[in-house]
């Protein structure tokens, strides 16, 4: 993780920031409080310690002074108890000079700089510093006062600006005959000695008679000394509670100890401890604590960042992964390092990703693959085309599209069943793939329709490929014992020549394919005229609906004639559409279309009613002629056919036997059980039933037996060549024999010559239909034709 992203995981409001802020604040407050507590305790402790030090210092100080006094006094007493000295002093038999030198000598031995002898009358008898004062009163009478009480006395005196620690002891002989006085000078060295014992700054201050404090000795820096005197002069300066003194910039905890209060010149010792010095260890502690605080904070921040990274990095990785999944990219696995829980979570995420990816792939496969053949489906094919067209648009190439469907596939499906149909589709797709050989080029577009995309192919190349495909399908498809002969109709369209987009290209190829089918060609390349026809057929449906209302649809009738004798035995009603602009439209131009759209279910009842009505009119006119109506496969599947028939018959009170319904073999085979049931119903009504186009399908004889048929019609494709083709003749013969064996009459369609009629007669066919006798005629001409036939018949009869 880079530095930037490390910090980017600490955005405001993020988990990282919360963790970091929480722990840092917690630590900071704990340390802050500790610091404050420690500081308070330290400050208190420091003050208490200083006070303690000062108190101890005072004791030490006083003890030291006492000790020096005692030492001095003892040393003095050694002299004053000397018998000779006492004798000399008592007897006053030594001159002052001698006594002075004696005193001075002894004094210097004990470190005293002052050595004096004072008379009981308190006048100086001798002075080691000279004779100047001899005879004058001893200035420190209070000292002798004390000595008279205690036997010895000590005190601090100030003389000539110098301070002395002074002792007075009597010269006893054995009662006092004089006072021996010794003084040790108290100076800075003395103060320093005290300082070394107590650790305190020591200043000795004398209160001069004039009222000012004079410093006589000190350990303080010379610069600070003057300030002590003025500080003591301040009101309440000697108050023991007033412990603070500012010297220079520094604060001193101060204890003023009264050393000498008996004389005219009080002397105090000012014991001081620099607060700064005393607090220095605590300040160091404080500094260490602050460093600890900062280090701790730093560690907390670093630790939080690490923890946060450990949490947010996996979370971010998971987030990134889910985003990739959201964008449809399932390929990148997520790898997460960190806590077990997170790794487990990541593993789960990864399993989820794989699951989603697998399901997505399955969905895509289902969405884009045709499950029957395994080929890509129409949706996928469109995508390919979109992509190919986009590439061609930018690259300037061309894309050709072949659409093809299997001729007669529906027939296969209807007669052999869907399982066989599916098998056929699978084999077709396999063969197609073998021919095309380009990966992802062929697709099943639906039903029996396939598409092939040819990148970079112009119309000519595409047509050649189409021819090759068609050739590949010339070999029959081996399907069990029965090889199937499947033929393709292929339409070719090319970008950019024929269409600008996928939709247009598909339409063009479709149009070309349908045109090929209609023209019974294998391959047709799209051209602009096809488009017009296609567009015409698109408008056909609405026009057909209108035609039914406006009477543009009419029925024509083609007679059925007995092969033997030539008498008319019936009429087949054929639909005619006379378009006000386009003129006559052949039934095969709109009936398949009506079948495709389901409109046939509206057309057929109309035909039945019209035919029944016409038949009734002929009957009323004295012409008894059965009428046949064609019923499509869809009509058989739709409910209500029986009701339509019975309704029409009863309305015109026409005997049911005058109506014949012609069904197709493929129509029956679409749903044989249903067909059997329906035809049984119609049979019960009394309607005659005929099987149209017999021989084209693959109907099983077992079914035919159940269908309650009255008539078989032999398809015109067998009849046309019957004169020359012995095979067709054999088929017709066997059909006739079959029909007769089942008790059915046989009608041959498409009889166009006398020769054919003769062959049919020889084969035992019962009736015939075709141009030889009459084309389909409208009702009036048909009636005329019928009467014309009846005249010779009647004449012959």
């Amino acid at each position: 993780m880079t530095e930037r992203s490390a910090w980017s995981s600490l955005r405001a409001g993020s988990l990282g920031t919360r963790i970091l802020v929480f722990f840092s604040a917690l630590l900071a407050s704990i340390l802050g409080v500790s610091l404050a507590v420690v500081d308070t305790i330290n400050a208190r402790g420091a003050h208490a310690q200083i006070k303690q030090e000062l108190a101890v210092g005072e004791k030490v100080f006083r003890r030291l002074v006492d000790q020096r006094n005692r030492q001095l006094a003892q040393a003095a007493e050694i002299l004053t108890r000397d018998y000779a000295f006492r004798n000399a002093v008592a007897m006053r038999n030594l001159d002052a000079g001698t006594v002075a030198s004696l005193l001075g000598n002894h004094g210097s031995r004990i470190g005293a700089s002052v050595a004096e002898l004072v008379s009981p009358e308190r006048r100086l008898i001798a002075d080691n510093r000279g004779v100047a004062r001899v005879g004058e009163p001893f200035p420190f009478g209070w000292l002798l006062d004390q000595a008279e009480v205690d036997g010895r006395a000590a005190g601090i005196v100030v003389q000539d600006g110098r301070a002395y620690q002074m002792v007075a002891v009597p010269v006893l002989a054995p009662t006092p005959v004089a006072w021996a006085v010794f003084g040790i000078v108290v100076d800075d060295a003395t103060a320093r000695e005290l300082q070394s014992l107590s650790g305190l700054d020591v200043s000795l201050m004398a209160h001069a008679p004039g009222g000012a404090w004079t410093m006589v000795a000190s350990t303080l820096d010379p610069a600070l000394r003057a300030q002590v005197g003025s500080a003591l002069a301040a009101p309440h300066a000697l108050d023991p509670q007033n412990a603070d003194m500012m010297l220079g910039d520094a604060q001193y905890e101060t204890l003023v100890v009264s050393l000498e209060d008996n004389g005219a010149t009080p002397v105090v010792a000012v014991l001081q401890r620099s607060l700064d010095e005393a607090l220095a260890p605590f300040r160091r502690l404080h500094a260490i604590l602050i460093v600890l605080l900062l280090v701790g904070l730093g560690l907390a921040v670093a630790g939080s960042v690490v923890i946060v990274r450990g949490v947010t990095r996996p979370v971010r990785a998971l987030g990134a992964m889910t985003q990739r999944i959201e964008e449809g990219d399932y390929s990148v696995p997520v790898a997460v390092e960190g806590a077990d829980e997170l790794r487990e979570l990541a593993r789960r995420f990864d399993l989820m990703r794989e699951g989603i990816a697998a399901r997505q792939a399955e969905i895509l496969r289902l969405a884009y693959r045709d499950s029957l053949t395994g080929l890509p489906n129409r949706t996928r094919f469109r995508q390919w085309l979109d992509e190919a067209l986009a590439a061609a648009r930018s690259g300037g190439g061309s894309v050709s599209l072949l659409t093809m469907n299997l001729q007669r596939f529906r027939h296969v499906n209807e007669t052999l069943g869907h399982a066989v149909g599916d098998d056929v589709l699978r084999r077709v797709s396999r063969r197609l793939a073998e021919v095309v050989r380009v990966e992802d080029a062929a697709a099943r577009l639906g039903g029996d329709e396939f598409g092939v995309r040819l990148d970079g192919a112009d119309p000519e190349t595409a047509a050649r490929v189409a021819e090759r495909i068609v050739q590949a399908f010339e070999a029959p498809i081996a399907l069990g014992p029965q090889p199937l002969d499947m033929r393709l109709a292929v339409g070719v369209a090319t970008f950019p020549q024929h269409a600008e987009d996928t939709e247009g290209l598909l339409r063009c190829a479709d149009a070309a394919m349908h045109a090929a089918k209609e023209a019974k060609l294998d391959v047709m390349v799209y051209d602009a005229s096809l488009r017009e026809r296609r567009e015409q057929s698109l408008s056909l449906l609405s026009e057909l609906k209108r035609a039914m209302e406006t009477g543009e649809l009419r029925l024509a009738y083609q007679p059925k004639v007995a092969v033997r004798g030539g008498a008319p035995v019936g009429a087949e009603a054929l639909i005619r559409w006379v378009h006000p602009e386009r003129g006559r439209i052949a039934p095969d131009q709109f009936i398949p279309f009506a079948e495709q759209t389901g409109f046939i279910r509206t057309v057929t009842p109309w035909v039945i009613r019209a035919a029944v009505a016409q038949c009734a009119r002929w009957r009323d006119g004295g012409l008894q002629v059965p009428v046949s109506v064609n019923i499509s496969a869809q009509d058989l599947l739709a409910p209500g056919l029986v009701e339509v028939v019975t309704g029409a018959l009863s309305r015109h009170e026409l005997p049911a036997a005058l109506l014949c319904l012609e069904i197709t073999e493929t129509g029956v085979m679409a749903d044989p059980p249903r067909a059997v049931e329906l035809l049984a119903g119609l049979h019960a009504v009394g309607v005659r039933l005929s099987m149209d186009d017999f021989g084209t399908g693959y109907s099983s004889l077992a079914y035919i037996k159940q269908l309650r048929l009255n008539e078989l019609k032999i398809d015109r494709s067998f009849v046309g060549n019957i004169v020359d083709d012995s095979k067709d003749r054999a088929i017709v013969l066997s059909a006739v024999e079959l029909a007769h064996n089942l008790g059915l009459s046989v009608v041959a369609e498409g009889v166009e010559s006398q020769a054919v009629l003769e062959v049919l007669r020889s084969l035992g066919c019962d009736a015939a239909q075709g141009y030889l006798f009459s084309p389909a005629l409208e009702a009036e001409p048909f009636a005329d034709w019928l009467r014309a036939q009846q005249v010779p018949a009647a004449a012959s009869a």
């Binding site: 108890r81 006492r86 008592a90 007897m91 009480v149 036997g151 009597p170 002989a173 054995p174 009662t175």
Partner: protein, 217 residues
Amino acid sequence: MRILQVLAIAALAAAGAARAGTIDVRIVDGHGAPVADAVVVAVPAAGLPPLPARPRVEIVDQVDKEFVPRVKPILRGSLVQFPNKDNIRHQVYSFSPAKNFELPLYAGTPASPVTFDKPGVVTLGCNIHDWMVGYIYVAESPYFAKTGADGKATIANVPDGAYTVRAWHPQMSADESQTARRLTVGGDGRAAADWSLALKPEIRIPRAPDADTGGPY
């Protein structure tokens, strides 16, 4: 000799019964407490009587490292014996102007007594035991007495007449001469004198705890 003296005094008293009296003295200190060991001396205005022909012999013992008595008033010219009752030696001395003497270390009674022929206070010390202090008050007049524990003293056999009386005590802060006053003995033969003396504390080296077995001296 002694008998004669006694007889003489008795004769004097008998002869001048109307002329002989006593001086009653009471001395208190500044606090009103009786002062013992104070010496009172009465000096006749008419002049001092002659000294006896034979000097008196007085005794100041040393008992348990103290002078006994501590204060010993004597008449001028008297002899004083310093017998040592302790089983250790003493070295008695005095640097007083009234009598400067020293008895070298001795045990028992020194061979010869010391004559005190100058009036004044002789402070006795011992060079061995610094705390030992004794006083011999050498009076010029035969009329003197020492107060007891009750602070009282009586000077007896004082002939009628006018006297200057004064009091002395080792610790008195004032000068002795300031205590002098005049009085007259007559009438009923009794006179009285009271003093209130301001005393200083005694400056004395404390006794060694056990002088026989230790101590500096």
